[in-house]
Amino acid sequence: MAAFKLPYLATAALSGALFGAGLYVSQMVDPFKVLRFLDFTAIPTGGWDPSLAFVIVPAIVVMFIAVQIGNRRTAPLFDKAFNTPTNTKIDAPLVGGAALFGIGWGMSGICPGPAISLIAFVPDNLWIFLATMAIGSFIGSLVMSNTRTQKLADA
């Protein structure tokens, strides 16, 4: 199975390393910098920090090019097929989930990538945050599997 071969795991390590370096270099490891972007009330006073937009746009552009390259290939280098997301539905779990995430992100200035990268710096209360994020993800998986089971039962 591809998932246990060395090139596959080395690729995962390289990608993770680039991601972690990018989070530090862009200073997205700093929850206060993220909050200075999300705080639109600071726009009139000149205290707004648009840096986050300058992080995400180049990231999207680089990935867009990779997607175009991938579209001309039948498979990635180290696996049999691209794991292209197949769900295209705009439904209540998508919108509701994004809204719940938005509340948590606005309360803390931390989204999952920076949350993990902060393990490198262990600020106070990080473990509580990571533990509850893990518990939340597990609760979410139960909610989603119940929804799916219900749909199968209805069908």
Binding site: A3, Y8, A12, L14, S15, G16, A17, F19, G20, A21, G22, Y24, V25, S26, Q27, V29, D30, D39, T41, G47, S51, V55, I56, P58, I60, V62, M63, A66, G70, P76, F78, F82, P85, T88, A98, L100, F101, G102, W105, G106, G109, C111, P112, G113, I116, S117, L118, I119, F121, D124, N125, A131, A134, G136, S137, I139, G140, S141, V143, M144
Partner: protein
Amino acid sequence: MESFSPLSAALGGSLIGLAAAVLWLGNGRIAGISGIFGHLLPPVQSAVWRLVFLVALVLAAFVAAKLFPQLGVGGVEPPRLVEAPAAWGIPTPIWLGIAGLLIGVGTRIGNGCTSGHGVCGLARLSVRSLVAVVVFFGVAIITVTVTGVV
């Protein structure tokens, strides 16, 4: 605007894009951190590469901070998490616990976060991801204003 840092932001953002590109063209996987993290937990599906990815992410953030400490937080300045706004009368650990719980549940049922929907989804021109991005940015901006966390 004193904290605005377009150059380091764009350089860091390009590295994040490159990370997503490497995982996509190499392994055919979406670099969505909430998914990579969430699927380490039960029910576990091939947790090994996810663990390798996350450990490399933490180590690289640590090493980058040692190599380029002048960039700021994590380098010369220790990172801090927010404190609960005094007006809410909630202890900070509980405030952060609620935030973590909402982020965990929300990214799982919404199937993505800033990296999965924001970077990878928008790059794939996914309408589903665009809706998610508009909702979570919009709600986060409103939440910052309502809670007064900064």
